[in-house]
């Protein structure tokens, strides 16, 4: 099998849905819906996260996300952003299911600023309630292998540990733990949050993650469409490097050119 064919057939699957792109992108924090649409198209993503909010009653004719990021083209992954209790998360996603008609969701229950670190006690509680209500739960979580395993055993369909706090752009600060979580998981593992630039996304994929979820890294770059392209390539490169298997690390040099056949003065 040649490399190209292998890359093209390298799909990943979550909750029975198959995806070719291993980049999942958020739809928030863009300057306009036009910029959102252009950046997401450039990223090649097939799945996008979305938030659920009250409709603006005073301007019902205002353009909506769905007009720019059509749900028949992208798999919407409704999130629970802004929910700080299990009850709020469940209520939000029940509305999302009614609005979108699907049950694949992103659960995130966050602790307080300045870190918005996952509140795992509340996350477990919300996950249990959502799973009992037949949601398929992709769960944002701490980089904690014990917590990750427990969420998988509860029935979550994907485990999504943070690389660094949401919107921080600090990259994958915990590669050892991400790798540990991936090594024991039977469901897809996505690094969600913290990615700042292309090399961060590549690193997440090199660690063996199934996909990467990011938003601000594209939306808050100086040129979102160009960064979206960079992220697309970074994820492909990181994935290919993981599949290829990197060489070992060594503290001493090992020359690439053979020492035999060197020309010598007066040979």
């Amino acid at each position: 099998m040649d490399g190209m064919t292998e890359t093209q057939d390298d799909l990943w699957e979550v909750a029975g849905r198959r995806f070719r792109s291993r980049l999942v992108v958020g739809t928030g924090r863009y300057k306009s819906l036009e910029e959102t649409a252009a950046s997401i198209a450039a990223s090649g993503a097939e799945m996008v996260t979305v938030a659920v909010r009250r409709v603006n009653l005073s301007d019902a004719s205002a353009p909506m996300l769905q007009d720019f990021v059509p749900p028949d083209r992208y798999t919407y992954l409704p999130n629970t952003a802004g929910c700080h209790t299990a009850q709020e998360a469940v209520r939000t996603l029940r509305l999302a299911r009614e609005a979108g008609g699907w049950n694949l969701v992103k659960l995130e229950v966050l602790g307080p600023p300045p870190f918005l670190y996952p509140d795992m006690a509340a996350t477990f509680e919300a996950a249990a309630a959502l799973l009992a209500d037949n949601f398929e739960v992709m769960v944002y979580c701490a980089d904690d292998p014990v917590a990750a395993k427990r969420l998988e055993e509860m029935g979550c369909v994907a485990i999504m540990p943070l690389g660094a706090p949401i919107g921080s752009g600090m990259g994958v600060v915990n590669p050892y733990m991400i790798r540990a979580i991936k090594s024991q998981a039977k469901v897809p593992v996505l690094v969600d949050a913290g990615i700042g630039t292309a090399s961060d996304a590549a690193l997440a994929m090199e660690l063996g993650c199934d996909a990467v979820l990011l938003n601000s890294a594209i939306a808050h770059s100086q040129d979102p469409v160009r960064m979206a392209v960079a992220m697309k390539h970074a994820v492909l490169a990181g994935r290919a490097a993981f599949l290829a298997g990197r060489m070992g690390r060594d503290y001493k040099a090992d020359a690439s050119s053979p020492m035999d056949g060197l020309i010598r003065k007066g040979g």
Partner: protein
């Protein structure tokens, strides 16, 4: 005028007070606001109203209605 006042109900929609004719349904409310039913979800007194029931769900005075949609998010 008095007659018209008597035939109206008052309810809360996304936290705002709103008056509607008695007998108005969720479908009527969405039409009055100008929203396409397929782009929103509706909650009435903390219970989801299935889209198929918009036309059959008659609103009552004091109802707390939430109408939501998808927006950009991470």
């Amino acid at each position: 005028m008095d007659q018209a006042l008597h035939s109206r109900i008052t309810l809360s929609v996304n936290g705002e007070k709103r008056a509607l004719p008695e007998g108005a349904t969720v479908a009527d409310l969405l039409a009055e606001i100008g929203l396409a039913a397929r782009k929103v979800a509706v909650e009435r007194n903390l219970e989801i109203v299935p889209r198929s029931q918009y036309g059959a769900t008659v609103l009552a005075s004091g109802d707390a209605i939430e109408i939501v949609h998808f927006i950009g998010g991470g």
